[in-house]
């Protein structure tokens, strides 16, 4: 890709510690390619956090997960550029997620969580520096005063089941109005209108400030986006930004890597063993009706591309079905083009990657459409029927339906995966192609390892 210079140059910024507070956009030159790649890496972190939270992980588990995700995705081969990557990716995602209330809320929540997890593992010294930078307005309680208060502070620590104070304990004197959640549980010592807030309790205040700064920032970014940037960048950044918020952010499944190719003759077999419900449904409908409307063709077609069906086989596959309904001539004229296009060198690459769960779940199928996510769109009865057909036992059915009821469709799909494969799926299902690949891995491992662990025993 050619190197383009970003025109986003805003005021210069002084040196920033390892965890930036993202006060203002960087005056860095950004390669268009990095613009997108960095953002995708960061989005992987945020999506991972989101998955962890919706799975109900505990705060300490989340802190570890957040930092692990950060290390896994946000490293840069050039270590001097890690900070750049951090800052650039943050500001790109601001652009992506500033554009409506729902996006802003998602970004705000997860960026704040990420900041909190990273903040908690910083050293006390750099925590202090960050607090100063973020404008934390309360000063630490001086040693003399701390000594006077020590007995009471220890008493509070014991009353909430915490350790006694260490000699270097840090406390802040905060007007009680600022920490209602600490007051209501009597979690702090209060004296003459001031709450004595321990460092680990102050994190809430710090992240609250981070959140409100970011919230204001997003509103400004949005204003800027709608008034100037969107139009000004319509040939360059705008398509990327618009695609990023709906596009899937895990591994890139547009080019099948691990499982080179799949041929037409195998397709029925893998469909019944390794397709997620959304694709199974489209696949079966296609076999049944010899037709799919546009949304279904795109969802299934791109998925099959990701699975490893090459262009020629794809044409043959679709033609075999469609010609039964519309005749082969009409197929060649009206439908073949768009299939070629899906594999296309013609189109914009962004739009022709296989759809992620997020995108599929948020699609709105109309009458006669078969695409979308069945966990979301099917009636309870139909979904239960489809799941038991896939091999979900009635024992596990309840769990799956529970997730559906709480609108955690991807978790429902994950549980289905686990039930069907009798194997866990820790990363959760984020992409139909990921479902496929994970499934294939498990099945192939079973074939190579096992003697005759046939699944005929019920």
């Amino acid at each position: 890709m050619e190197i383009l210079r970003s025109q986003k140059k805003i005021s210069a910024q002084a040196a920033i510690p390892t965890l930036p507070v993202y006060r203002s956009a960087p005056s860095l030159e950004v390669r268009l390619e990095d613009f997108e790649l960095f953002a995708i890496d960061r989005l992987r972190v945020l999506t991972g956090i989101s998955n962890g939270l919706s799975r109900g992980k505990k705060p300490d588990e989340m802190e570890k997960l957040g930092n692990d995700l950060w290390k896994a995705n946000m490293r840069h081969h050039d270590s001097s550029r890690m900070l750049d990557k951090d800052i650039i990716s943050h500001f790109v995602l601001r652009l992506v997620y500033c554009r409506n209330e729902e996006l802003r809320k998602w970004f705000l929540t997860h960026e704040t969580k990420l900041f909190e997890y990273r903040f908690r593992v910083e050293s006390v010294e750099s925590q202090k520096a960050l607090m100063a930078e973020i404008g934390f307005p309360y000063t630490a309680v001086g040693i003399g005063e701390l000594e006077d208060m020590r007995e009471n502070l220890n008493q509070v620590a014991r009353s909430i089941g915490r350790q006694m104070l260490t000699s270097d304990a840090l406390f802040f004197k905060v007007p009680f109005e600022e920490v209602p959640e600490l007051i209501s549980g009597r979690k702090v010592y209060i004296h003459k209108g001031f709450a004595y807030v321990a460092m680990n309790q102050a994190v809430n205040i710090v992240t609250g400030m981070f959140r409100s700064n970011l919230s204001k920032g997003l509103v400004l970014t949005n204003r800027k986006w709608t008034t100037t940037l969107k139009e000004q960048e319509k040939d360059r950044l705008t398509p990327i930004v618009e695609a990023l918020s709906t596009s899937y952010l895990g591994p890139d499944y547009s080019q099948p890597k691990e499982y080179a190719e799949i041929s037409i003759k195998d397709i029925d077999k893998v469909a019944s063993s390794s397709f997620p419900l959304c694709m199974r449904h489209l696949f079966e409908k296609l076999r049944e009706d010899h037709h799919l409307k546009h949304g279904g063709r795109m969802q299934l077609g791109l998925f099959l591309k990701g699975v490893g069906l090459n262009l020629d086989d794809a044409l043959a596959f679709w033609k075999a079905e469609f010609s039964q309904k519309v005749g082969s001539e009409r197929f060649d004229k009206e439908y073949a083009y768009s299939i070629r296009h899906n594999y296309g060198k013609e189109g914009k690459r962004i739009d022709y990657t296989p759809y992620s769960c997020q995108k599929i779940i948020s699609s709105t199928p109309g009458a006669g459409d078969q695409h979308g996510c069945p966990y979301r769109n099917f009636s309870k009865e139909n979904l239960e029927a489809a799941l038991s057909k896939m091999g979900v036992s009635s024992r596990l059915m309840g769990d799956v339906m529970d997730k559906v009821k709480n609108r955690h469709y991807q978790l429902a799909c994950t549980l289905t995966f686990e039930a069907v494969h009798a194997s866990s799926c820790d990363s959760g299902i984020n992409h139909p192609n990921q479902y496929f690949i994970d499934s294939q891995k498990i099945l192939q491992a079973k074939v190579t390892n096992s003697t005759t662990v046939k699944n005929e025993t019920t």
Partner: protein, 456 residues
């Protein structure tokens, strides 16, 4: 109840429900309460000027920093003798308030929040937030009827000298926490006229609290929780140690009052029925069995002793719990005492900015007693039975005062209400002084600011 509510869309049951229940107005007016006497009270004794001064918070002067609209944005509400309920009354001056009260002769006056605009004209302002509460005192409402499981002398709306110490405890505990912990200084305690007390915290900082902050403070005091029937526990004291604020309450108020007053006053361990309630709170079967055996068997012997049986049994119970190997059993003593003494708040009253509360110096329609202020420093001495009533006041005024003779300027000076006004002014004078000082400071700061911005 027929409520003629002009505009009720913001009214989320903000009136004290329980006070309302004791309020089926005309029908059960007792001999104590005579609407004619009420007219007379409003005509000659109600302290309009003091109430106006209080509710103005220093904004009634000719100082450039005064907000002259302040008093006029305060909501008052009246319940009239014919059950008509008038919300969103507002007044622009002391005289207007006085005239309105005199002519309507309300059986009850409630005080609400200060709103963003004059509440009487709230409909003239369009938009979501045009009419919204901006300030209100932080208030507490404690009602004796919530203590029926720990008092044996009376129940429901009745009170007597034996159970009133529970209110004294509440005043002492809450008052000291408000001052020591939260740093408030302008705190008014008022007898509710029947079976409870109200508290008004009037510091500027308290008046500006939002709902979340009010709720946090209410929760800070929320130790006594009515759990389910099966739960032995009624108080939730938190982790392995008590919070310092609870320690202070326990040592300075709860334990002394429990051991020196309520234990014997309410005979908490005298009968089987009563001591079983306390034994229930001890989770160690072997100890409770031992105590039960002793108390049931030794009933006659201990009654010979000079010492009060409740005290003897309490000491026994304590020594059993304290000698036990398990440290956590000692916590039982604290739990018992907290359960029998710790203030029980009406949380809803404290949590909402726009909750209404009965005004001081109202007359309770069932008892005829005036809702007089209580000096928290001397709250042990307060006797709810000796509070001035409409009829006692009338009598005092009708009796010629020989010593002072004619020509006294203030009629209230000749009644027992005078003492209550003195108590009120102990609260009011320092409040107004600090209102003036705060106003001065913020005005000077503003002046300074505008000066320095002029030089730019």
């Amino acid at each position: 109840m027929t409520k003629e509510e002009i505009d009720n869309d913001r009214d989320d049951m903000m009136i004290d429900e329980r006070e309302q229940q004791g309020f089926p107005l005309m029908q059960c007016v007792q001999e104590e309460f005579d609407p004619e006497q009420l007219k007379f009270y409003y005509g000659r004794l109600f302290p309009y000027a003091d109430i106006y001064k209080w509710m103005s918070y220093g904004n009634d002067r000719k100082h450039p920093a005064c907000d002259l609209s302040y008093f006029g944005r305060r909501e008052f509400s009246f319940i009239l003798g014919n059950d008509v309920y008038l919300r969103y009354q507002s007044f622009n001056s002391a005289a207007q308030m006085e005239n309105s009260i005199k002519s309507k002769c309300p059986f009850k006056i409630d005080i609400g929040a200060v709103y963003s605009v004059d509440p009487a004209k709230r409909n003239a302002y369009a938009g979501e937030n045009a009419f919204t509460p901006v300030e209100k005192e932080l208030v507490f409402d404690i009602d004796m009827s919530d203590y029926d499981d720990v008092r044996y002398c009376c129940s429901g709306a009745n009170i007597c000298q034996k159970c009133w110490p529970l209110m004294t405890i509440a005043i002492k505990v809450i008052d000291s926490a408000l001052r020591e912990d939260f740093g408030f200084t302008h705190i008014l305690w008022v007898y509710s006229g029947r079976r409870g007390v109200h508290c008004w915290v009037c510091d500027a900082r308290a008046r500006r609290l939002n709902n979340a902050q009010r709720a946090a403070i209410a929760d800070y005091f929320h130790v006594y929780k009515v759990g389910n029937e099966n739960s032995r526990k009624k108080v939730f004291l938190g982790g392995p140690a008590l919070h310092p604020s609870l320690v202070r309450s326990y040592q300075q108020v709860l334990r002394p009052f429990f051991e020196e007053d309520l234990l014997c006053g309410q005979s908490l361990l005298e009968t089987e029925e009563k001591f079983e309630k306390i034994l229930e709170m001890i989770p160690d079967e072997s100890i409770t069995a031992k105590l039960r055996g002793e108390w049931l068997g030794n009933h006659h012997r201990s009654s010979n002793s000079k010492e009060d049986i409740n005290r003897v049994r309490w000491e026994k119970l304590k020594s059993h719990l304290q000698s036990g190997k398990q440290k956590w059993l000692r916590r039982c003593i604290e739990e018992i005492i907290f359960s029998y003494t710790y203030p029980r708040l009406d949380m809803g009253v404290t949590k909402l900015t726009n909750h209404l509360l009965k005004a001081p110096f109202c007359v309770h329609p069932k008892t005829g007693r005036v809702c007089v202020p209580i000096d928290p420093k001397h709250c042990e001495e307060f006797d709810p039975m000796a509070v001035p009533t409409l009829s006692s006041l009338k009598k005092e005024l009708d009796t010629p005062d020989l010593e002072n003779g004619e020509g006294k300027k203030f009629e209230s000076g000749r009644t027992s209400l005078d003492k209550s006004l003195t108590v009120f002014r102990l609260f009011l004078d320092p409040l107004l002084k600090s209102c003036k000082e705060e106003m001065e400071i913020s005005y000077n700061a503003k002046l300074q600011q505008s000066k320095s911005s002029l030089t730019w």
